[in-house]
Subunit: 510 residues, 2 copies
C-alpha cells in the first residue's frame, strides 16, 4: 500500500501503474499528444452504411479493443445499449468501454459484463444498478473513474486509446458533419463527444436525422468521422433533462442557496465581468435566482457562464446579465435550443472546458463555481461518488476540475441527508481534495478553508454564521450520530483518478 | 534521374526522398497522424506577453527550427516580415519557413535568405521578386511547392513539423481564442491558419485587436495557442483583396466565361442541389454571372459553394441561389463580413477543404470547379507556377486538389497571352496532371479530355466549338509560333509536390 497526499491507501500494483495523488498541480508537465490512425477517404468513397452491424464490421472491431460513447442524452440514450447488444450478438468479447458517463438506462451493461463482452470500464460515474453491481464486485478489473477534464486529459495523452467511438449524432450528413442542435434527439452541445471524435482511430456516427450535405453548424467535422449509420431512434430528448433540473421549494435548500449567494456576492470576485458555473440540483439552481437579483441591484453583469448549462443560465443570458455562455453539455431542452439560436452561446469540447493538461482550459478563467457533495470531511475533502453505504452511485463529473481551477469554489450541501451526516470525519471516497475547496456552505452556515486567509479576511463581516469543519461535523453528529464505518471487502472495484491521472482513492467491494 | 508518370525527370536524390508521382490516388494510404508537444497552462499562468521578442524567447526558438505563417492577409500582411525581422535581429539562423503562401509584400524574405536566417522554404507559391530570386538560385536548398490540400496533408502526416507557428490574429483574447471576423484587419476565414494551430508544438497569436475573454466566435481555440502578443498593426485589410477580384470587360474573357457556363449548365451535374467552386480572376468571376442567370432560368439552386470565397458567391447566397458557403479563405472584404454575419456561411480548415489524406475533404463532394492556368499542354497537364520564361511567379493553390477530387473540372484560359501560346506541346512545369482535368475552355472553344467519354457523349450537341488539344495548340502556334525552349540551369530551385507528397516536377534555375 502507498499512502497518498489525502491519506488514502492505494494498493502498490495500482500506485505503480498510475502514480498516487500528490498536489493539485504537481503532476502537470509537458507531454507529447496522442495521435490516431487515419484512413483517408477518396472521392467517390461512401461513409453511409446500411446498418450498425455493417459499421462494426467495417471498423474491424475485435476482442480486446476499446470503444467509447458520449453521455449527452443522459437518461434518454439509446446508443450505448444498441451498440453493445450488436457487439454481443457478433460474439465479440473482452471489450473496454470508455463512455464519458453511464446512466441508469444503461443497466444492460451488467449482463454484458457477466457475459464477458465488457471487461473494462472507465467512466465519470456509475448510477443505481450498475453502480451497485460494480460495488458487489462483478468485474475482475476495477472501473476507472475519471473527471470530465481528466477523461479529456487521458484521451489526449493516450492513457485512453479509443479504437472505435460510437457517437450518437442528433443530426449528421452522409459524410459525418454532426451537430446536436438539429434533429429529433437534439441534446445541444456535443462537448464530450468532440474529444472522442478528435482522438479515436475510427468514429461511427449513429444518427436518426440524416441531413443533406453539408450539415451545419459543424460540431464534429467530417474529417473526424469514418462511417455514418442511420437508425430509427438514437435517444429520447425527454430523457436529457430527467432528474437534473428543478427549482426547489425546500426551505433547507433555499437557505443554503441564500448563504451561497451571500458568500458569492460579498466576495472580491463579484464585480463587472465576473464569471461563474452553477451546475444543477435544486439548491444550485436557486442560487441563480439570488445572483440574478444581486446583479440587477448592483448593476453588474457576468462576462460568461460556463459548464453544464441549464435554462437558468440561458434566462440570465437573455436578460443581458450574462454576456456569453460557454457550453460543454446541456441539461435541458431550452439550453439545447439556445445553443442553436443564440450567437453568444458557444459550444466547447471537454479539453477546452476542463483538461488540466491542455494549452489552457476555460475553468482556469472561472471566478466562481458552485458544487455539490455526497460527503465532505473535516479536511474539506469531497466525495461525490459513493453513498453512505459505500456503494458507487454518483459521478466525478467536473467536480475536481472546476474546484481546483476556479478562484472561488463553493461546495454546497445540507449538513444531514435523511438520517445520515454529510459532514464527517473522513469521507468514504475522496474525489476532490480539500485543497481545492474554498468554502463549504450548509443550512446552518459556512466554513472557509483555513488555507484561504484572503477569504477569511474578506468575509469577516459577512452576515452568515461561520464555523470550523469540526464544528459543522459536531452539529451533524449531534443530530444523527457518527456514521457507522462501512465494511468493505478486499477487492478493489473502482480506481478514482485525480484529474492529473494519479490515484486519489480506491473503492473496494461492499 | 527517375521519370514520373507525367514524363518529368526527377533527380534521384529527391525521388528517393519524396517518391515520384504515379497516379492521382495511388499513394493514398492509411497513416498515423502527427502529434505535437503540449505545455499545459495552469490557473494563473498568463499567455499575454509584452512583446514579440519576449514571445520568441519564450518559445525557445533556435537555429534549425521550422516556423509557419498563414497568408490570409495576402498582400496586406505585416506579420511575416515583422517576425522574420525580429528573428534576424536576435541572431537566429538556419530557419525553415512554412507559410501557407508568400506574397509580393514579403520581398524582405530575399535578404533573410541571403543572410542565412532562412535556409528552407515550403509554400504554395512565390510571387514576383521572391520567385525571381529563387529562380536565380539564391537558395542552397530547393523550395518545396505544396498545394493547399498537400500542405494540410504534409502537416498532418509530419512531413512538415512546425516548431512555432506565428499566426496573425485579427482578434484574440489574452488566452488565445481567435477569429478573423472581428478586429481591425479582419480577413474572414482562418482556414489555413487553423491547421498550423492544430499541429504546431507552439503557437504565438499576434493581434492588433485584443478582446475581452472569451473572444468568439472561436476559429482557433485557446487549447491550440501558447502565447499572445499585442502589436500596433498586423495587416492592411485593403491588401487582402488586391489583385484578385475584379469583373472583366475583356471580350476574350467574357467569351471564355460564356463557353465555360455553357459546359457547366449543360453538364449532368447542373441540377438541383449541385455544388461549385469558381476561384478568382476576371473570367472565373464572369462565369458566376452566367451561372446566376442559368440557375434563375432553370429554377435550380446550389447546395453549396466552396473554396476561396469572393463577393460574387456571397451575392448568390444572399439571393437564395446558393444554400451554404463553405469557406477556407476570403478574397475580399464583403466575403469576410459575410462569414461573420451569415449563419449559413461556414469556416472550414484546409484539411476539411482539400487534404487528400483526411477522413474526407469537402472537394470530394464538389460537382464543378473552375480553374485557371499559365500553360496547358496536349496531355492536359497544367502549369500554374512558372511563367513562359521559366521563372517562378505563381502558386499551386488548390489547383491540383480540386481538379482531382471534383466531378467536373474546367481549366479556363485564353489560347494566347501577350505574344505567347498558353496551349503548348509540353508545359514548363506540371502542377496538375492531365488526368485531373476534364475540360479545357478557351476563347475559340473547348477540349474534352478523351478519358471522360461520358462527357464527350453528354456534350455531343453542345453549341460550343470542340477541338482536340493538338488542334488548340496548332491554333495558338499559328498565331504566335512555337515558344522557344527555356534554357534552364543545372540547379534544382523548387520541388513541386503533388498533393499526395510525391514529386510531380522539379524547377531548375534560369
Amino acid at each position: 500500500m502507498v499512502k497518498n497526499n489525502v491519506g488514502k491507501e492505494i494498493p502498490k500494483e495500482f500506485a505503480d501503474q498510475y502514480g498516487v495523488f500528490d498536489e493539485q498541480f504537481s503532476n502537470v508537465k509537458p507531454f507529447e499528444e496522442a495521435s490516431r490512425k487515419i484512413n483517408p477517404v477518396k472521392p467517390g468513397d461512401e461513409k453511409l452504411l446500411g446498418s450498425l452491424r455493417e459499421a462494426i464490421e467495417k471498423t474491424g472491431l475485435e476482442d480486446g479493443m476499446t470503444i467509447s460513447f458520449h453521455h449527452h442524452f443522459r437518461e434518454g440514450d439509446y446508443v450505448i445499449n444498441m451498440v453493445l447488444d450488436e457487439i454481443a450478438k457478433m460474439g465479440i468479447k473482452d471489450i473496454s468501454i470508455a463512455p464519458s458517463s453511464l446512466a441508469n438506462v444503461h443497466e444492460p451493461v451488467i449482463d454484458h459484463i457477466k457475459n464477458g463482452v465488457i471487461t473494462n470500464i472507465t467512466s465519470s460515474g456509475l448510477r443505481d444498478k450498475i453502480g451497485a453491481a460494480i460495488s458487489e464486485g462483478i468485474m475482475e478489473n476495477p472501473v476507472v473513474i475519471r473527471s470530465h477534464g481528466g477523461r479529456a486529459r487521458a484521451i489526449a495523452s493516450g492513457d485512453i486509446k479509443i479504437d472505435v467511438a460510437f457517437l450518437g449524432a442528433p443530426s449528421s450528413d452522409a459524410y459525418g458533419n454532426i451537430n446536436g442542435t438539429k434533429g429529433k434527439a437534439n441534446c445541444g452541445s456535443l462537448g464530450y463527444a468532440m474529444i472522442d471524435a478528435k482522438y479515436a482511430d475510427q468514429v461511427v456516427a449513429i444518427t436518426d436525422s440524416l441531413m443533406p450535405y453539408p450539415n451545419a453548424p459543424i460540431s464534429i467535422p467530417q474529417t473526424d468521422v469514418d462511417f455514418v449509420v442511420e437508425v430509427d431512434e438514437i435517444g429520447d430528448p425527454e430523457g436529457i433533462a430527467s432528474g437534473a433540473t428543478r427549482f426547489t421549494q425546500d426551505p433547507k435548500e433555499l437557505l443554503i442557496a441564500e448563504y451561497a449567494a451571500e458568500v458569492i456576492t460579498n466576495s472580491p470576485y463579484f464585480k463587472e465581468g465576473w464569471s461563474f458555473q452553477t451546475g444543477t440540483g435544486g439548491a444550485a439552481l436557486a442560487v441563480s435566482r439570488y445572483l440574478r437579483r444581486a446583479m440587477i441591484d448592483k448593476d453588474i453583469t457576468a462576462s460568461f457562464a460556463l459548464g453544464g448549462i441549464t435554462n437558468a443560465m440561458v434566462e440570465l443570458h437573455k436578460e443581458g446579465l450574462v454576456d456569453k455562455i460557454i457550453d460543454v453539455q446541456d441539461f435541458d431542452k431550452n439550453s439545447a435550443i439556445s445553443l442553436g439560436e443564440n450567437e453568444n452561446h458557444y459550444e466547447i469540447d471537454a479539453e477546452f472546458y476542463a483538461s488540466p493538461f491542455s494549452k489552457s482550459s476555460a475553468i482556469n478563467q472561472l471566478d466562481v463555481c458552485i458544487l455539490s457533495a455526497l460527503e465532505i470531511d473535516t479536511d474539506y475533502n469531497v466525495n461525490v461518488l459513493t453513498g453512505s453505504d459505500g456503494v458507487i452511485r454518483g459521478a466525478s463529473g467536473g467536480h475536481s476540475d472546476t474546484s481546483a481551477a476556479s478562484k472561488l469554489s463553493l461546495v454546497i450541501s445540507p449538513l444531514i441527508r435523511g438520517r445520515i451526516a454529510t459532514v464527517v470525519d473522513e469521507v468514504n471516497t475522496v474525489v476532490t481534495p480539500g485543497d481545492s475547496v474554498d468554502v463549504v456552505v450548509t443550512e446552518v452556515g459556512i466554513s472557509i478553508n483555513p488555507n484561504r486567509e484572503d477569504l477569511i479576511e474578506a468575509f469577516k463581516d459577512l452576515d452568515v454564521p461561520q464555523f470550523t469543519m469540526d464544528e459543522l461535523r459536531d452539529q451533524a453528529y449531534e443530530v444523527v450520530g457518527q456514521p457507522k464505518a462501512i465494511e468493505y471487502g478486499e477487492k478493489p472495484v473502482a480506481l478514482v483518478e485525480y484529474r492529473d491521472g494519479t490515484l486519489i482513492d480506491v473503492v473496494n467491494n461492499v
